[in-house]
Amino acid sequence: MPLLSVADLHTHFPTPQGTLRAVDGVSLTVAKGESVGLVGESGCGKSTLGKTVLRLVPPTSGEIVFAGEDIARLPAESLKPYRRRAQMIFQDPFGSLNPRHTIESILTAPLYVHGIGDRAERQKRVAAIIERVGLPLSALSRYPHEFSGGQRQRIGIARALILGPDLVICDEPVSALDLSIQAQILNLLVEMKREFNLSYLFISHDLSVIRYFADRVLVMYLGRIVESGTGADLWARPLHPYTRALIQAIPDPSRRRQAAPLGGDIASPQDLPRGCRFHPRCPIATAVCAERDPALETHAPGHQTACHHAGQLTRPPEA
């Protein structure tokens, strides 16, 4: 049984311009100890998906089964045990730490709220985790603004891990950091995973980060998963034209032509295109794509995609 299993999850927001379908029928699983990468353009709903899984945003419909229990419909008061086991690391290391609290109070409060240990025990745990993420004990008495971005992200990681979670959702945890610092933080996340036997749902728009990090990759477009496969398989044989475009968009000095593989902008999630959501931008779209919405189908073992022309590189001749 997977640790997390999400089935047909929808998160819609009412807006004056119509319903915004941020997450629109997503199913995914995360096994114990697995790192699942979730990749997609900004605005495709990947952050909302992460927050919905943690019940930080209310789901419209669907199941979120964590360790055998559907938490999608639990009342907010009953979520506390789940909060202890599923945590989040945020993108913005400046906004995610309360500027008015010391690092010690930021790290002690979760233990206090969940009634873990007495004062001395909590102090011991906080000291252990701060050293484990690579910061000196003297950091505890200081405020978030006294640290650099990378150091703050270490504090964010310490806060996410202090309750001893099983699942950690990393929402673009390195995209706000310098490249050299990114590497340190990614290394730290890998070490933490080994040490605490964590499962990650790793959200990023950066394919190279996902490639380094994820055992399995989900590609998201406009609220849907359009392709899912193991890392190696997906990189070698992308089936969906969107995945292929994303991979080609990685700058590669050995390639002469660096033309943008995708024209146009992501459509508005308030006004979704008919048929396949990707067809207005798709290089191989045909008439059927504007008519029928493709379902996620298995094309090879462990490799699924939602495309009528999966694997084709060029537009088939019109029948």
């Binding site: 506390k80 945590q87 008015r100 006294e146 610092i181 990614l186 290394n187 190279s208």
Partner: protein, 296 residues
């Protein structure tokens, strides 16, 4: 991507912690320092009133209409009933400050609770509370104050409560706006994700971040509460058993042409105190919101 172990980041040189930086900025403002010293002096005089003038300031102790300087025993003269103006001024400071600070404290407390609830929870709770705030804000506040005091007995306590009841909507609106923007911050999302309760998120996570504008507004509210109390007393709606600056002006009003010092002296006291509080408010605003004031 090649992952290599790099030297740890150089520690960032920490800018001074917020509170200390704000305090230094405040102390660099000469007007604010003078205003603070003046207010401290008024406070000291108010506290020491029973020591300076042990006698009831409402008792007749001198010949009526002594001008200031006429009799060294009564440096600021006496009024139409022979009451010592200096004693009235000193005891009046007590009433002004007590009512000003107590009304502010009560008004700010109500305002924070209502504004935080509305801003944090949003939705229907917000709609209902915003209506309530609007009802209070669209009623002419001084009229409401007069009615409230007229219904209750004019005593220090009832006047304080009445002033608090007309001032809390200002704070509530401000707190609501702060909470609406702060609740979207990642650290609040993180707090929810960690399973913190609403009370903890409101008072421990969000409120400390909303305090600077509340502190600034509070100093101005003390000033306006002092003005409201003076206006009430001037109209004879103050506590008849306590002397206040407003009631001194009210009593001196009829002798304005012959004994103008009776209105001028308490008038100056009100102006200086209110001015000092407003200057402190401005300086706090500059000190606590450096970016905002630079843009002004």
């Amino acid at each position: 991507m090649a992952i290599v172990e790099l030297a740890p980041e150089a520690p960032v040189v920490a800018p001074a912690v917020g509170t200390w930086r704000a305090l230094r900025a405040f102390l660099r403002n000469p007007a604010a320092v003078i205003a603070t010293l003046f207010l401290l002096l008024v406070t000291l005089i108010a506290i020491a009133a029973p020591l300076i003038y042990p006698e009831d300031p409402l008792s007749m102790v001198a010949r009526p209409f002594l001008w200031p300087g006429q009799n060294p025993k009564f440096p600021l003269g006496s009024d139409s009933l022979g009451r010592d103006v200096a004693a009235g001024l000193v005891w009046g400071a007590r009433i002004s400050l007590v009512i000003g600070i107590a009304a502010m404290a009560l008004g700010v407390t109500i305002g924070i609770v209502v504004g935080a609830t509305a801003g944090y929870f949003g939705g229907r709770i917000d709609d209902a509370l915003v209506r309530l705030i609007e009802i209070f804000q669209t009623t002419p506040s001084f009229l409401m104050l007069v009615v409230l005091v007229a219904i209750a007995e004019p005593r220090v306590e009832s006047i304080t409560v009445a002033i608090a009841l007309v001032t809390w909507p200002t704070i509530a609106r401000l707190v609501r706006a702060e909470f609406r923007s702060l609740r979207e911050k990642d650290f609040v999302t993180a707090a929810r994700g960690l399973g913190y309760g609403h009370a903890r998120i409101i008072f421990i996570e969000i409120l400390p971040n909303a305090l600077p504008p509340i502190i600034v507004t509070s100093s101005v509210i003390v000033a306006s509460a002092i003005l409201m109390e003076s206006a009430l007393s001037f109209m004879g709606l103050g506590d008849p058993n306590r002397i206040s600056w407003g009631s001194m002006i009210g009593a001196g009003r009829e002798m304005l042409r012959t004994a103008w010092y009776l209105t001028l002296i308490p008038g100056i006291a009100i102006v200086l105190t209110v001015l000092a509080l407003n200057l402190i408010g401005d300086a706090l605003n500059d000190a606590l919101n450096p970016r905002l004031s630079a843009e002004r």
